[in-house]
Symmetry: C2
Subunit: 719 residues, 2 copies
């Protein structure tokens, strides 16, 4: 069965007569058969039926937004259902991700092909029937990578809005870099559906402010203003003049008084196309439109309507009440005659354009193809520096500056910036031609997110989803402000890069509001994300070698404000061990079982080395393990892990200026964990080291104590 015939399964057109076509909630007036209306009501009823069958989900928004979504997709969206990855497609983001059935219905009716198997639809009717079931293509919220056509994972409110700003920025950047006077490879638009929640969440406010500042004329948010939230009417908690607010952000604002007024909505879309700044289209809608007892109430939001109400809603639409998952003949055809015909033609034109382009500009074309495939540039790491031993050393944020510049210089589509902290986080790209990304200069590679960490995270996800290699940077403490998009980068398995400096109480005088304690653990706990806290300049370089090479995982790089010694790698093991997460940096008696293992990360590794040297001078066979990444270490096989941390050696001390939580895994229950058990304090670093016990004498004492405690046992087991 081919995709078309799959889409066509099921039966006769419904008997019309029912819903009014616009205005308030439908009454039972008669209505002429209208193929557009039939399409719209198909979207509605598919959504209703799927939620009802799952007995779980959100029917209200799809019922309300079906006319808007239909109009956008059928008449405007530049999208080739045969190639959902066409680089110049318009992007459609459903920031109100709970309305997932709206998107699944659209993908189904548009006949979008599965990117991995084009003989198959991205969303079949069977997939819709398996809405919210195990391993379904139609999970509860849209998930990037699960369902072709889902541009980004949404559900946590505001994130899709932020992502869409990143997608729009990427469009501008790609245009600036790859368009030529005779070849417009990139001019795509980004359409984002959003709801009251998106309008209230701070991350979307931040993102809107960025988009207005950057004059992203390719961005259009369509705000479903239904005046209903879970607790009831928006009167309870929300009385912004949203239009005025967005004008204040520098947006163009359009208003559509009735979601069913597709003509007015089409006009608003035209206004967007003519605008040179982002556009907000406010659409007044009725949540659960058509369900006589539930429409315009919170109960239409997040639960199945119930059999009887489903029946009544269908009656209101003039739909056969006993039909389930009905796709009337002619509906997919009509829908596809719009979006499909338009998209295929545009894509075909684009292919021809690109062929010519590739002939004229083979290098540019190759770069672009590599970018779009998520491949790495050849030689991206060739200029990574190495650092000579230096007892005084440099802050890892400083060596980080050198490393990021060395990478970015050979990674033409790496872009990034900070939440107004680049002079502190040292992430600015300083080589010739790097430039700043600004409203009139969209080719710049340094992004200025302003003091908006949360939007930075969400925007970086959008950029990364577009094929750019994006990084966002701030102080480690403020990772708390941007955790939600960091988590989503891991869930989406995209290689976003997060650079955090000022990584411990070592930042000194700014005090406990700025000193991270538990943030490192928080990063490590995100499934799938790689966190690296390098010990010195050469470990920073190796950390970048790991990060740059990632293709399906985000990474967090954690750097110091304060100087740390650059270890002498002729004396200690090479920093390439970073790739394995943990490695033996120093062994007093190589080949023999160590009496005690000192495990450190980041700035505490040099402290461990200092203690190691003291112990060595005393004839103690100590070992130092540098452990920049728990995640990478856990990926190693048991033999390697045991070689670094021999199970027989129970005398272990971990040293890290962060929450002690989680270290028991590596020290064992009877090992010593030197970490933070409280918040930090405002004082110069030397005083803080003393106050919180990160001094050579404390570590030395712990090591001796461990040897005493485990000495005999260790020896015994090692025999």
């Amino acid at each position: 069965m081919d995709a078309q015939s799959q889409a066509r399964e099921s039966s006769p057109p419904p008997q019309p007569g029912g819903a009014a076509q616009s205005g308030g909630p439908p009454s039972s007036q008669a209505r002429p058969l209208d193929i557009d209306q039939l399409c719209i009501d198909t979207i509605r009823t598919l959504s209703i039926d799927a939620v009802q069958k799952a007995n779980s989900g959100h029917p209200g928004a799809p019922m309300a937004l079906a006319p808007v979504a239909y109009t956008l997709w059928r008449d405007v969206l530049r999208y080739d259902p045969d190639d959902a990855h066409w680089p110049n497609r318009d992007r459609f983001v459903l920031s109100n991700g709970h309305a997932s059935m709206l998107l699944y219905s659209l993908l189904h009716l548009a006949g979008v092909k599965d990117a991995k198997d084009k003989r198959r639809l991205a969303v079949t009717l069977d997939d819709i029937k398996a809405f919210r079931q195990v391993d379904s293509k139609c999970p509860g919220h849209p998930e990037y990578g699960i369902t072709t056509g889902v541009e980004t994972t949404t559900g946590p409110l505001g994130q899709g809005c932020g992502n869409s700003v990143g997608l729009a920025m990427a469009g501008k950047w790609l245009a600036a870099h790859f368009n030529t006077p005779d070849a417009t490879l990139f001019d795509y638009d980004v359409y984002t559906f959003c709801g009251d929640g998106d309008m209230m969440e701070g991350v979307a406010s931040e993102a809107a402010s960025v988009a207005g500042h950057l004059m992203l004329g390719n961005l259009c948010w369509i705000y479903d203003s239904n005046r209903i939230t879970i607790e009831g009417h928006t009167d309870l908690a929300f009385s912004d003049n949203v239009a005025a607010r967005f004008l204040a952000y520098g947006w163009n604002v359009e208003r559509v008084g009735d979601a069913n007024d597709t003509g007015r909505f089409a006009e608003a879309l035209k206004a967007f196309k003519g605008a040179e700044v982002p556009t907000l289209i406010i659409v007044d809608s009725v949540i659960g439109y058509g369900a006589p007892h539930k429409q315009d109430t919170a109960s239409a939001h997040g639960e199945a309507l119930g059999e009887e109400e489903v029946r009544l809603a269908k009656r209101a639409y003039g739909w056969p009440e006993d039909a389930h998952f009905l796709v009337p003949d002619g509906v997919p055809e009509h829908f596809q005659a719009g979006v499909g015909a338009r998209g295929r033609a545009l894509k075909a034109e684009w292919d021809i354009l690109f062929k010519t382009y590739a002939e004229k500009h083979p290098d540019q074309a190759e770069t672009l193809e590599r970018l779009l495939k998520g491949e790495l540039p050849v030689g991206w790491d060739k200029d990574l520096p190495s650092f000579p031993a230096d007892a005084k050393g440099v802050a890892t944020r400083e060596s980080g500056a050198k490393a990021i510049n060395a990478v970015a210089r050979n990674y033409p589509w790496m872009v990034g910036g900070a939440a107004d902290l680049s002079p502190s986080t040292k992430t600015n790209l300083t080589f010739d031609g790097a430039g700043s990304f600004e409203a009139e200069k969209y080719g710049g590679r340094n992004l200025h997110f302003g003091i908006r960490e949360h939007a930075m995270g969400s925007i970086c996800n959008g950029l990364t989803l577009s094929g750019l290699r994006a990084y966002g940077s701030t102080f480690l403490i403020f990772s708390d402000y941007m955790k939600p998009p960091m988590r989503l980068s891991a869930l989406m398995e995209i290689p976003a890069i997060w650079v955090f400096t000022h990584d411990s109480i070592g930042l000194g005088e700014d005090g406990p509001t700025h000193q991270p304690v538990e943030q490192l653990l928080s990063l490590r706990s995100v499934p799938g994300m790689i966190t690296l806290r390098p010990a010195d300049a050469n470990e920073v370089v190796e950390a970048w070698r790991v990060i740059g090479g990632l293709r399906h995982q985000p990474a967090s790089l954690v750097l110091t404000r304060q100087a740390v010694p650059t270890l002498d790698r002729a004396v200690y093991a090479p920093a390439s061990g970073v790739a394995k997460g943990a490695y033996v940096l120093a062994d007093a008696k190589p080949g023999s079982t160590p009496e005690v293992i000192l495990i450190g990360t980041g700035s505490e590794v040099s402290l461990c080395v200092e203690v190691f040297e003291t112990l060595k001078a005393d004839g103690v066979a100590a070992r130092v393990v540098s452990m920049p990444s728990w995640e990478l270490f856990e990926q190693q096989d048991q033999a390697y892990r045991d070689s670094v941390l021999p199970p027989a050696v129970k005398a272990r001390v971990s040293v890290e200026m962060a929450s002690a939580m989680g270290w028991d895994r590596y020290t064992g229950a009877d090992g010593a964990v030197i970490g933070m058990h409280s918040f930090g304090s405002s004082a110069p670093i030397k005083d803080l080291m003393k106050k919180f016990g990160f001094s050579p004498d404390k570590v030395l004492a712990a090591a001796r104590d461990q040897i005493k405690k485990h000495g005999s046992k260790a020896t015994e087991s090692a025999k």
Copy 2:
């Protein structure tokens, strides 16, 4: 030396002649001696000198804002320096907390007394000289509890703004509850200084939207618009029309074109006093005002000016260039003649008013006193229910609803709400008279935060700082959106309450975007916060008994969406063990050493019990430990901890549907940790339990495996 004379230490007035009094940066024109200007320049030079001495800090904002701060404090603020805790004082919040020296200078010059020792100034000149040093009263950012007069800990941008909305809401609530027609006990105003960062951070946007919605006419934000951020000019990243934005939130907006124009600022403050909605006063200022080479540049923001520039700035002010920490004679007196005289008189009036009030309304007065002291109401826990055994059981969010209502009914100043999720988190107070807190009805106890988790957290902190017992609630996954204020509640040691439901993959179909995995660990890792994940209805009650009783620690309560059995407490141990964090719930052979220990939390405890019964039937001496709180367990003495988890018993299995990280501490390195190692998935709960291995057979297999692995050893050690 008494406080006054301390404030008066140091010497002759400076030779005037220097700064222009308003307009742009000062030139070297002559200037008449003006006591107001002298006060303003004292604030500036104290700030400059302190930062220079520490060689660390932020001089630019205090230099710019001194005239504004001076005018507010001297001429308007209702504040008694002798009693910084006077309940009806106006609140002053420095949301741009990096400008801490501004606040310390004000507290010093106003002669504010240390609340713990009124013979002492809250901030002496010596304290200022020890700015940013170990255990100083003047840490890098203002810290609540460290320095009298600091109303809230600020520094992470946007938080002070959010807190101030909570403080203003509390003012309205207190007025609604305690004012009578003849006694206005509460009519305080809240003044908040904020900067460009606050204007950009989403949390402040959310909070502003809430404040506008609630028409908080007692709230005034004073926005220091200096057009400079760390990366450079605000043109780089910020072009909101801030005035229009705030009008859109429903605020009154005033503009002061020059921070030195104290007359215009005074007018703006008058306009605020007349407004019935919150007011934003936008003050155009020059960062680093007076420093000839650094003013109006980013370099004036976050580092010491340098000796030479300090000298030049002083010259521009007409200040003795060699004087350091100079407080000219007459300056404290003049400052205190304003704020002190006014505040003392108002406070004295208030005391008389309250005395009469207490005679007329003794119960109300007692309630108020208890509230203000942070004491608990008598009998607050007397109606806490107990639940009979019930195999089918209820969701802990449902038993949570009963418990929170039972507590709040007898806790008259407990208020709270959800981020638009109360029908799901079940935190609504439903008893008679609870009502909703709304613009015209400020006495309500149910708060409606809208879909704004971050502001909710920050507002709850403000409410808690005001003596109210505030809770905020959302799904556990969205704790990520509000981590920064949760952290601050712990840092400030205030008893804010966070209620999180939908606490695991057990929420089912909403899928991985909504299923917490690492959030529980994230809560546990916040120093000082108590996290509780109760196993059944009776543990929920005991968790509330713990939480209600906290006075200096925030708590997070973590509850299920799905039903869990109510355990038969006649068979298993009483739920009162919750208070100890972990307790032996079931022991197959009490008195003997168990062969294996199953440790569970929350919804997984009943799974452990099920496996326990199977093992018991097989004659295995298993034990079940219910461990609702790591933090409480860690507070117990070693003997108790060993009695629950005997060190000799190495065969251990922990079961928790959350990140496995951190469990090694309780299972030991060779125990079994059954947890989540990936994100969840969208499907019905029963399918997810199977997919992710939370089934009786998996736990049973792990237990048997542990017994096999450790059996002999355990027996041996126990001998």
